[in-house]
Symmetry: C2
Subunit: 349 residues, 2 copies
DNA sequence: CGTCTTTATGCAACTAGTTGCACAAGGGGT
DNA sequence: ACCCCTTGTGCAACTAGTTGCATAAAGACG
């Protein structure tokens, strides 16, 4: 009834460093030193302090430590989500998995926020910085004239931007090198299958990665002496993907293959094509982007471009931790996005 | 070159309450009172202080406030993710959306953690509580003899458990009432369509909601004088869903309809059936659970059960905030899970 | 013109750790 | 036996706000 275990649990108030110091018969300074492996304490004293702390179930208060050190051991991830798109892209789940894998073992936490637009996102960073709530931030979806890197730099908040590495960006950029490689491969693949009328369904034009991929798509086709059958922009929503697909299928010379800016849209596109009575890949070949797990299990299995979102997430976490003063080896991202050929692409009719 | 704007941005160190007090010609106590609408300050002084703070770009340090008040204005969401399942279920994205919608406007943050199993999850709560990093936690996936509610109660950490409301649980449970209603409706729907051999693909047996739904499935069939064609348990992974579907399709008397414990598995099941040469719903009817956005866009569109994950998330956030001392009206969850009939179900052959 | 009351403001202690510096104790060398 | 040096430990100040209590200022009233 009165084991140390029980008494620890029962005491409403959390134990403080003073309680531990009293229990071990030392000063609070000694307790602090024992926990931080600094100063000079005998191994015996150290043991005794650690035992007392374990007995009381004490860990240093994150808040007090943060106040003193001006480091919260918390990083921010802000996800921008158009109000009309209900669920966020599973892409983010993958990214978070990659980030967490690096943060958790080092005692860092990930503070997640959802915002509607860039203005709200900027206001949030201002608040997070002013309140000192986080040590750094991961910026997703780099866009042309992105206001966030200069903003965060001005706020003195470490940050990494996900996307194509860019030499003179205000904040370090993390992403697979040669971002266009996957698109290039995909176009090659389709052309080799005999496709000549290939369309591209892009994301919002202001996002850099989407613009880049679209440009690579057009350049690669040009190298083959072909012109795009069509290039449509969407807001990444499922509804827009379906609408774009229907528009493509209604063309006088309809494309025999469509490449989508992400897997979610590709899946919707396949649905739209099938609903229109077309067979994939018999009548229409489809290529996605991201290599989400679900693509492997659909019928037909989705041909897509793997850009290792998790790995990029891990690299971003490392880069950010390094900026926060942690001694962390960087993750080498020497690979490039790669085409994963599955069943949604086939010979042109 | 030297606007207040610029000088604010340039000064490396964040301004403190002292700087604001000095700028406004008052004491730090007055600044604190101005920001917290407590004590008695003249409106004129208040204005002057607020202006000075705005000028300097100052907000109270979240860390210092947290130390003094013993409240961090941060809640934890721990997602348990089997190591072999790569991406987390989009279900969580919906849940997070619902939570964030309530937390953000009140200045609360969501600390997200991913863990491999229950042991790791418990250890994490112990650490979060000992370090005082969060004010409360959202517990997902209630399981039989769940160790987490008593643990969090012992740690003195407010919590809400998502799932079927349960009167004498150690922590409040938030979820739609009459959890079985959706399954009940779905079985009715299938039986009306003439199905007699209906199978159920369940999640891990130790999860309460999955066990409950499976039980309701069996009871409802029994009321109709039918027996389940089969009931299989999986770990919620895509691979397991495909394996279960293949097993069902290989039966001597194969089922004419399959109900899955979530949409992700249902989508994989449709893929597996189509790959086996069956048509959905012509040869096999499929019902999912969750009403993920993607289900609306597939071909065939997925018949599923809507359990309003976002709304439940919002209710959970409110319930937790109320426990943390915030004055928040509770969200009424008088609705029940409802069947959404789309195209993946049809008459039995 | 002094005293009482009301209102506004500041002082100082407090939250829970961390750390520079001073000091004490013990051992070894001369 | 004395001194010095090494090692271990504690005091007190510091991080950035918040708050109870004291006090000052100003107006009202006798």
């Amino acid at each position: 009834m009165n084991t140390p275990e029980a008494s620890r649990r029962d005491s409403g108030a959390r134990p403080t460093i003073k309680a531990v110091a009293a229990a071990a018969g030392v000063s609070t300074a000694a307790v602090s030193q024992a926990f931080n492996a600094k100063g000079r304490i005998s191994e015996a004293t150290r043991r005794r302090i650690l035992d007392a702390a374990a007995e009381l179930g004490w860990s240093p208060s994150a808040t007090a430590t943060a106040l003193r050190s001006a480091r919260t051991r918390t990083l921010a991830l802000v996800v921008r989500r158009p109000t009309d798109v209900l669920g966020a892209d599973p892409h983010f789940t993958e990214l978070i998995t990659g980030l967490e894998g690096e943060l958790a073992p080092r005692g860092y936490g990930l503070l997640l926020h959802l915002v509607a637009d860039v203005a709200e996102e900027s206001a949030l960073y201002e608040r997070l910085a002013a309140e000192g709530r986080v040590d750094g931030a991961v910026l997703t979806d780099a866009r042309a004239d992105d206001p966030r890197p200069p903003l965060l730099r001005g706020l003195g908040l470490p940050a990494v931007l996900l996307g194509a590495p860019h030499p003179d960006a205000p904040v370090p950029t993390v992403g697979l090198g040669n971002q266009g490689a996957g698109i290039h491969e995909a176009v090659d693949h389709l052309v080799e299958l005999g496709h000549r009328r290939i369309a591209y369904v892009s994301g919002p034009g202001e996002l850099l990665h989407t613009g880049l991929r679209r440009a690579v798509f057009e350049e690669t086709l040009l190298l083959k002496g072909l012109a795009p059958a069509a290039v449509l922009s969407t807001d990444f929503s499922e509804a827009a993907a379906v609408a774009a697909t229907e528009e493509l299928l209604g063309m006088a010379q309809r494309p025999t293959a469509v490449m989508y800016a992400n897997d979610s849209m590709a899946v919707c596109g396949i649905g739209a094509a099938q609903r229109a009575g077309l067979r994939v890949p018999g009548d229409l070949s489809v290529v996605g982007y991201d290599n989400l797990p679900i693509g492997h299990w659909l019928h037909p299995r989705l041909t897509t471009v793997d850009q290792q979102v998790q790995r990029v997430g891990a690299a971003a976490a490392r880069a950010l931790l390094a900026q926060c003063g942690e001694k962390v080896p960087p993750v080498a991202l020497d690979e490039r996005p790669r085409l994963v050929v599955r069943e949604s692409t086939g010979p042109a009719r």
